[in-house]
């Protein structure tokens, strides 16, 4: 039973980690919390849904189209909602993010409807049984896709020129511009990458639970935010681990304590982290941003 919950926890934890990276990237580069990020995750799922059901496109193509559109959306959100108030107060940034969130949810609700949509079956779900655990092919898919995405991100951030520019901009934007970096461009790219991760997670969740709804980003957004804070917001490897830990804690808590409180666990964890280790479990004293 417990081993089974570990598998489930790892699956949902991979999703949390992917969405949480969007928060961490935005925070790392601009020091702001993009509370519209959960809705980008939702839009990602809906774009794929639209491509598959309405346009009748193949799954992989739909996945890619959704990531591209979401990437553009991420950059657009930064440009319209955050750029002009980059040096403004936290509260104006928060309000701006909430505004974007309302716009995205309503846009999807008005165009696609407010009911829960059945996400099309994209693969034959087979279930593998081992001695005392079962693992489904969708769970394996989720973990593999998440792993591939995280390895790619790690490579991008730590091994490429774009990655160096992202880290330098996070550390010292003015100096980066003196080095010849177009800081606005780097910030756009960073938001795009975060959005792509959110959208990919949204599609995976659609496949996993077979259903999507216009406000699905609200609770996921909050949980992924908790995961980011748990791992150390701004810290990429920490955020990845934070997502996994949150997924595991939730699944184990549901079994060992009570399933009724499943959603409450993440907020209890958030409160404890903020009280006792505000830089996160894996945060250093000084957070290494992006």
């Amino acid at each position: 039973m417990i081993v089974q919950q570990l598998v489930n926890g790892l699956t949902i934890g991979s999703i949390y980690a992917m969405v949480a990276l969007g928060y961490t990237l935005a925070y790392g580069i601009l020091g702001l919390i993009n509370f519209a990020h959960g809705d980008v995750y939702m839009v990602g799922a809906f774009v794929a849904y639209f491509c598959i059901t309405v346009l009748d496109l193949n799954v992989i193509v739909s996945f890619i189209i959704s990531l591209v559109i979401s990437g553009i959306l991420g950059a657009l959100i930064e440009f319209t909602a955050f750029r002009s108030i980059r040096t403004g107060s936290r509260s104006s940034q928060l309000i701006s993010a909430i505004g974007v969130s309302i716009i995205l949810q309503n846009a999807v609700m008005l165009t696609m409807g407010s009911d829960t949509k059945p996400f099309p079956k994209v693969m034959n779900t087979s279930v593998y049984e081992f001695t005392n655990i079962t693992i489904s092919s969708t769970q394996i898919l989720i973990m593999i896709v998440a792993l591939i995405f995280m390895i790619m991100l790690y490579f991008l951030i730590y091994k490429t020129r774009v990655g160096i520019s992202m880290r330098s901009t996070a550390q010292d934007a003015a100096m980066s511009s003196l080095m010849g970096i177009n800081v606005n461009k780097v910030i756009s790219i960073t938001f795009s990458i975060g959005a792509v991760f959110g959208a990919a997670a949204g599609i995976l969740v659609g496949i996993y639970y077979n259903s999507i709804v216009f406000n699905m980003g609200s609770s996921m957004g909050l949980k992924a935010f908790v995961a980011a804070v748990l791992g150390g917001i701004g810290n990429i490897p920490g955020t990845m681990l934070g997502g996994i830990v949150l997924g595991l804690a939730e699944s184990l808590g549901a079994t060992l304590i009570s399933a009724k409180y499943k959603d409450a666990f993440s907020f209890i964890i958030l409160i404890f982290v903020l009280l006792f280790k505000p830089t996160g479990l894996f945060g250093k004293k000084e957070i290494e941003k992006v």
Binding site: R161, I164, S165, R167, S168, Q171, D172, A174, M175, S176, S177, L178, M179, G180, I181, N182, V183, E288, K289
Partner: protein, 238 residues
């Protein structure tokens, strides 16, 4: 090479620099000296595009650059090593140097060759190339900032208080490097509170006080100037 005309800088309505004009001739070392708050840093920041002037114009090689973005200005060959060095503490020494290629139009191979040559002549940096730059000593960080600036292949190199916080021997070393850079054909504009050191290295000097240029002359004459001696060199004119 660079010509600044009637530069005015304001921060929130308060004037920091008023009607400053000066020019830097190609191949020379020009020193800009003055006390705290004189407006030296603001002037450099305006040339490199970090600060937008409220009035005045800046020309580089005959073309106006006023109002251009920092990443565009640096591509024209104006490199600014700011006050406090601003190395990237969480990047390695090597990654800090790799940043220099951003403003340049060179192949990766050519750039790496230049970088490795530079590292050969700065052994302290070579030995620490994979170390986070934030762990370097102050002197090493200043070397890193200068080497990083050099790898940007400047036509004009602007340094803001390169001597700050360094021991006298290291200051000498830094200025020896600055003179070397100049001998290899790079024009230098150096801002300093340490007037003695800066004027000894420079060809020509400007003295700034509360936002205005109050004096300018050959560096040698400034060193001998009683007013400069009294205020900036801590000597009494007897």
């Amino acid at each position: 090479m660079i010509k600044v005309e009637n530069l005015n800088i304001k921060y929130g309505g308060i004037a920091a620099v008023r009607d400053v004009s000066f020019q830097v001739e190609e191949g020379k070392i020009i020193a800009l000296i003055g006390n705290n708050g004189a407006g030296k840093t603001s002037t450099l920041k305006t040339i490199s595009g970090l600060v937008i002037p409220s009035k005045g114009r800046i020309f580089f090689e005959g073309n106006e650059i006023t109002g251009m973005k920092p990443h565009e200005i640096v591509k024209k060959g104006i490199v600014h090593i700011p006050e406090g060095r601003h190395i990237f503490p969480n990047l390695t020494v090597k990654e800090n140097l790799i940043m220099s290629s951003s403003s340049r139009n060179v192949t990766k191979n050519k750039f790496y060759e230049e970088m490795n040559n530079a590292l050969q002549s700065f052994k302290v940096l070579k030995e620490r190339e994979n170390q986070l730059a934030g762990t370097l000593s102050g002197g090493e960080q200043q070397m890193l900032a200068i080497v990083r600036g050099m790898l940007q292949a400047p036509k004009l190199l602007m340094l803001d208080e390169p001597s700050m916080g360094l021991a006298p021997l290291v200051v000498e070393e830094v200025f020896r490097i600055i003179k070397d850079i100049n001998n290899n054909g790079t024009t230098i504009l150096v801002v300093e509170q340490n007037a003695q050191v800066a004027l000894s290295a420079a060809d020509y000097g400007y003295v700034m006080e509360v936002g205005e240029i109050i004096l300018h002359d050959d560096a040698k004459s400034l060193l001998a100037n009683p007013q400069v001696k009294k205020i900036y060199l801590g000597e009494n004119d007897d």
